[in-house]
């Protein structure tokens, strides 16, 4: 059985198709693999040497790196380029590290005020998709390759004679792209622009527009809030500018930086239906179905108006809000209806939040999406040319109708990264360039303007979506004076940049270079929050609320895959869900009590019916889910994502409801089918089993006992009979603050990108063989129905007294004078005794040749970081404290004859973490941050009683419960 990808003349062997998730023990595959893979790899290495678009692909137009100096000055030395990440729902500043002209690592841009150096898991994983061999590589017409000029000619002919043209784009268009779209709509006869964005907070934006009288968004300022109440808003996970939210939220929880006499933390109350990372970070959490959230909002509003103190959880929460007036904030999740948003708007008004904990952004980075019915009716009336850019309606539309509508257009053109479900239905499928190959700009708010420059010329015969529009507009409107001077999209972006930001500058060339260098231009702007139309708000409130049902459905975007756009990204598929630790699948999460009520076990497949939509989906038992609530995630069940993402999970788009609250449903029916489906988690046990693993306390406890660890009776190691080792040089150590860590997983993907960690696939994850060097352990504590959640990132502890080192029979793991536990890959024979003897189980073993097994094409090898060995079969590996970065810093310091400054070495995990939960540095340096953290009264070593003497300190988790509310005991129970 062979399959042929249309753009590729090489037939794909059946084993390749199955390579991603086949049982490796199948005999047939094994025998075929040995012969074919040898040939393939011989061919592959030749291809890499000769044919594959390789190392040096300078973009056509001038790009500017962060540091002065001619480009490509030193082969092998990395250069950093500022750019903008535009693949996600919110644009973030990013720094792209390129070695020999190809991007290998992404960081946040420290100059960018919104996310700074922080990055998200999806941002980090962008490297993977750049080199994805499943990308569409050349234009197709009805599945057959066609040269660009011919495709353009046909499309232009159709556009010229068209009476009705529809352009569907995603919502996350930057200012230049929006300007281009406008121009195109003007130039093309009978053209209309529609915006399609699956996971969007449409009802919230609409409510704000009604209440504040103009389009825009409210941006929470968590660093100014003392009391925060979230009604279903996963602001630390998926809602809004998440990186900014995490940074701001964490800035007030960094207890290490606070003076011991002035310790303070905000208090977060979360009321939600499913357990999210935001709920996990909460000081108080309540479970509630979506209908109950609406009721609660009313209750809060009523409670704030009266002044009488009362008892009970909600009453205390209201009192807390009231007392924190001016520093309080209430948020409502995007899935809730307009009535709740109006209520919350009024609540925030009562709390004096506007201008303090809530800022106004009149120009959000996302366009409001068009109502689906509007798109359907326009298409149904017949369309001559339909253009779909960068969005995948055929996949995420609730009904298959859109597909027939697209096919019903006289000429349909789709442009995107992959030959996805939508592009497959279009006449023309045009390849789009990747974010890292693109020019663009973004203005998340009036004060921040960031530019996106490519770091590599397009690997394939792709072009940017906006470039297509420019080309077509130039031909359709040849007399437009502005466009005639422009050679390409780069020129358009540059022109717009000048117009918007430097209209009068004489030295624009220098400004442009500087903009490219830093990636960001700031303009002072603090637009005031518009006055509220209270009457309109009251009218919205009266429109009613979601009816309650025995079962209520919540559809949420996936924490990594989002709405399916990243489905073919192996790194993101294998990133465990922060709460459930589920990989490679989505499921319907229900509480154990609900499961018991319906006689469901985990893995039972049920038929889930909500309104008109039906899906068959496996059940996941998730403590912390509200009883009667069912939470499902978008983005799975793709059919044309690529070899990684196809047939993974279940598409829940049919469950999306018509009406104002598409992500909620209360007429939900469940029927147990006679089938089971294996769900794979990377962590199976969630209880700490009374062991002192994550130590926790309350803020008041910490205030009273600055040496919190002693107060918690933590067992220290006994005396050591061996003399202290003769350490020399900087003593590397790490500290992780468990209060700040929210479990987002950016560090995990950053480590994977930096250290060439392979993806192993679902079956290997089921056998507990996933290769992440850094994992985040998640523990439930307390009430099994509404547990407290603790996250604990686990890198290699680099024990001074490492149990792994003694037992390796061939000395493949050794210790250096600076305190690092070293792994010598080429000496390892793979007895795995080191892993058995590691009490933390941080070591990972290459049970198969994972790097080669899941390699689909040689182009993926370009993603490797050349500074890190790629490990082969039979070899142990583990976190190295990013020794390649340590060495780089050492060389630089040595060349300049200075000691390594504190902060010069940043491990990949530390750099990515939006919460700043990880610090790394030299313990011997009296002024280093890590030393200060190690000296904290909250610092302890994990399993210290074993006398492993790890170099990683954990800072105890501090919660800030309200003193009037029950069970705020500390300790590790």
């Amino acid at each position: 059985m062979t399959d042929r990808l249309p753009q590729d003349d090489r037939p794909i062997g059946w084993w390749e198709l199955l390579a991603s998730r086949l049982d490796p023990r199948t005999l047939a595959e094994m025998t075929a693999m040995s012969r074919r893979s040898a040939l393939k790899l011989m061919g592959a290495s030749l291809a890499v040497a000769l044919g594959v678009p390789g190392c040096r692909r300078k973009p056509e137009r001038k790009i500017v790196s962060r540091i002065d100096g001619p480009e490509y000055q030193h082969p092998g030395e990395p250069l950093q380029y500022s750019s903008t990440w535009t693949e996600g729902p919110h644009p973030y500043g990013m720094l792209v590290e390129a070695i020999d002209g190809r991007p290998v690592k992404i960081e946040g841009n420290p100059s960018h005020p919104i996310n700074g150096e922080a990055s998200s898991a999806a941002m980090q994983a962008s490297i993977y998709s750049l080199y994805d061999p499943d990308r569409l590589t050349a234009p197709l017409r009805s599945g057959q390759p066609i040269p660009w000029p011919q495709a353009d000619a046909e499309i232009l002919a159709a556009l010229r004679s068209a009476k009705r043209t529809a352009l569907i784009t995603r919502a996350t268009l930057g200012p230049s792209e929006r300007a281009m779209v406008e121009r195109f709509i003007q130039a093309a006869p009978g053209a209309r622009h529609f915006v399609h964005e699956p996971a969007f907070d449409a009802s919230r934006r609409a409510a704000w527009q009604t209440v504040f009288g103009q389009p825009g968004e409210l941006v929470p300022q968590f660093d100014r809030a003392k009391v925060i109440v979230s009604l279903g808003s996963d602001f630390l996970g998926t809602d809004g500018a998440v990186l900014a939210n995490i940074r701001q939220f964490s800035s007030r929880r960094a207890l290490v930086d606070q003076a011991p006499t002035e310790l303070s933390m905000p208090r977060l109350y979360v009321v939600e239906s499913g357990l999210t990372v935001t709920g996990a970070a909460a000081d108080h959490r309540l479970r509630a179905r979506p209908s109950e959230l609406a009721t609660l909002a009313r209750y809060i509003r009523a409670g704030l108006r009266t002044d009488t103190p009362s008892t009970g959880f909600v009453a205390t929460m209201i009192d807390d809000l009231r007392e924190a007036r001016g520093e309080a904030l209430v948020l409502a999740g995007p899935q809730l209806g307009a009535d709740v948003h109006a209520l919350v708007a009024l609540i925030n008004r009562e709390l004096d939040a506007y201008g303090r904990t809530l800022a106004w952004n009149p120009s959000p980075p996302t366009l409001p999406p068009t109502d689906r019915s509007e798109i359907e009716s326009y298409l149904a009336d017949g369309v001559d040319v339909l253009i779909v850019l960068g969005t995948n309606p055929v996949f995420d539309w609730p009904t298959p109708r859109i597909r027939s509508l697209i096919e019903g257009a006289t000429l349909s053109v789709g442009q995107g990264l992959y030959l996805d479900e939508t592009l497959a239905a279009c006449t023309f499928a045009l390849p789009a360039s990747h974010n890292l190959e693109s020019w663009n700009d973004a203005s998340p708010n009036p004060a921040v303007h960031s530019v996106c420059q490519p770091v590599i010329a397009p690997l394939h015969a792709s072009r940017q979506e906006a470039e297509s529009l420019l080309l077509w507009t130039k031909v359709l409107a040849p007399d437009d004076p502005e466009l005639t001077d422009l050679r390409d999209w780069h020129d358009f972006v540059r022109l717009q940049w000048q117009r918007r930001l430097f209209p009068d500058a004489a030295d624009f060339e220098d400004r442009w270079i500087e903009s490219l260098r830093t990636g960001v231009v700031l303009r002072p702007a603090e637009p005031p929050v518009p006055p509220m139309d209270v009457a309109a708000a009251e009218r919205l409130i009266a429109t009613g609320s979601l009816t309650s049902g025995e079962l209520e459905l919540v559809i949420a975007p996936h924490h990594a895959i989002r709405d399916g756009r990243f489905a073919n990204n192996g790194w993101l598929q294998e990133l465990p869900d922060p709460i459930s630790k589920l990989v490679w699948d989505n499921a319907a999460a229900v509480s154990p009590a609900t499961a018991q009520r319906f006689d469901l076990a985990e893995g039972d497949v049920v038929e889930l019916r909500a309104g008109e939509g039906v899906v068959e989906i496996p059940i996941l038992l998730q403590p912390g889910t509200a009883d009667g609530a069912i939470v499902v995630t978008l983005g799975y069940g793709r059919t044309r994502a690529g070899r990684v993402g196809n047939a993974v999970g279940v598409n829940v788009a049919p469950l999306v409801q018509p009406g104002p609250t598409p992500w909620l449903a209360s007429n939900v029916y469940l029927r147990k089918l006679n089938r089971r489906y294996p769900l794979v988690r990377t962590q199976e046990h969630a209880s700490m089993e009374d062991r002192p693993i994550v130590l926790a306390g309350t803020l008041s406890e910490f205030r009273d006992h600055p040496d919190l660890i002693e107060h918690l009776h933590y067992e220290h190691p006994k005396a050591d009979i061996y003399p202290e080792y003769n350490w020399q040089g900087p003593q590397w150590a790490m500290a992780i603050d468990q209060t700040l860590c929210i479990g987002c997983g950016a560090c995990v993907i950053a480590c994977q990108a930096e250290n060439n960690i392979p993806v192993v696939g679902k079956l290997e994850c089921e056998h507990s063989r996933n290769m992440h060097w850094l994992r985040i352990h998640r523990y439930y504590v307390g009430d099994p129905e509404n547990p407290r959640v603790y996250h604990q990132p686990m890198p290699c502890q680099h024990c001074e007294n490492a149990p792994c080192e003694n037992v390796c029979p061939v000395n493949a793991t050794t210790h250096d004078l600076e305190g690092l536990n070293q792994m010598v890959y080429n000496r390892c024979i793979g007895t795995r005794y080191c892993s058995n003897n590691c009490p933390y189980k941080v070591r990972r073993f290459n049970f198969f040749d994972y790097q080669r097994r899941l390699l689909r094409a040689p182009v993926q090898e370009l993603a490797y970081n050349p500074n890190v060995t790629v490990r082969s079969v039979g070899v142990m590996e583990k976190c190295t404290f990013c020794i390649q970065r340590i060495n780089q810093a050492k060389f630089a310091a040595k060349n300049n004859n200075v000691p390594i400054p504190d902060g010069a070495v940043k491990t990949a995990c530390q750099q990515a973490c939006p919460a700043g939960a990880i610090v790394f540095g030299d313990l011997a340096d009296p002024a280093s941050v890590v030393r200060r953290w190690h000296a904290s009264g909250r610092a302890y070593k994990l399993l210290a009683v074993l006398n492993t003497q790890p170099r990683v300190d954990y800072l105890a988790r501090i919660r800030n419960p309200h003193p009037a509310l029950a069970s705020s005991q500390g300790g590790h129970g």
Binding site: R769, H777, F845, F848
Partner: protein, 461 residues
Amino acid sequence: MTRIEGTPLPTREALVLGEVDFRRLDDDINRPLESFPTLRWWAAFAVTSSMALMLLFCLGLTVARGVGIWGVNIPVGWGWAIVNFVFWIGIGHAGTLISAILFLLRQRWRTGIARFAEAMTIFAVVCALIFPLFHTGRPWLAWYWLLPLPNAHGIWPNFRSPLLWDVFAVSTYGLVSLLFWYTGLIPDIATARDRARHPLRKVFYGVLSLGWTGSARAWSHYERAYLLFAGLATPLVLSVHSVVSFDFATSVVPGWHVTIFPPYFVAGAIFSGLALVATLIIIMRRMFRLQHVITIRHLEIMNKLVVATSLMVGYAYLTEIFIAWYAGSLYEYFSMTNRMFGPYAWAYWIMIACNAVFPQLLWIGRVRRSILLMYPIVILVNVGMWFERFVIIASSLSRDYLPANWHYYRPTWVDVGIFVGSFGLFLTLMLLFVRLLPTVSLAELKSVLPNAQPARRARHG
């Protein structure tokens, strides 16, 4: 004690039954060598060699694909392979006990079974060595990197690692056992050489007999060499399995880090080895009609040893339970309760039943002397001893310090194939042994015949 006039002196039960003389013994022992294998032998050989072929196939697959086709994972880095390794090494110890230790203790009754037991040791060590080599991720490098070979890089293996101690211990044990066994064989091979008619047989046994003349001097050297080897092999019985137990005892894993392991393992090794000797020798004596040479008395004595070692092993189980509570470490305590009531409880209770409970039936004389009744017990002993290692390895690794790392271990068909295949290899070697070499040490056996000491016989009448 006072002797009552007229009653005969108590005599020991004869070790060889019936009217036997040297010639008859020669014929009896050499018959399997000199006759063409029966259909039964060929059938057995066909079965065992196909099992051995499966072993080769599975090992080849493992090397080609990676050790991932086994059931091991992180946290359980060792699974069936290391259980099998300890199992096979343990089995070998009974052979050395019988042939070396009992020799030094002048237990004459060992003569009937010593050679067979020693052969079992050799073959068990061969089977055992497969596992530490092939369980590594890169066996094509492991086989020589584990040896302290001088090299240009100046890199030695890590002498602090218990796995390396294993390399020394097991290779020493294998070598000494082989030499001991071979030395003991020389006079008997010479007998076969002298009896051989076919030129090929003459050459074969001639070369192997190293020119044995049978002179008094040769015998003197032989006796001394044999004694020295027995002396060398004896401490190995205690040390080798102690060193193997260090793989576990010197680690930090709760449930492994237990000081009772060395004596516990040694006792267990002897226990399982004796049981396998009994299992195999019961068949062998029947096949080759050697019931008069390997008598019920031999089997009864072995069963008494089985009971003794079963009690030692049972005591070790009780000690473990006590210490798990007494130590005051919640990790140790949990490892014990996890074994008894956790996901591997089924394996734990099989182990207890087969090792500590059923063998107690051997207190009963009737059971001890009845082949039909003792046979299932000794088979179960080996089952139980396999499970003991399995429980130690799998249950401790699958649930150690951090619950987030806990994961169950399950073998795959390759694991099972290798284990079954190792039995195939063992039995194939056994089958070849019984056809090519004398299974009973003729020379020693003749020395315990009444004919051997005519003067003494005359004295005791």
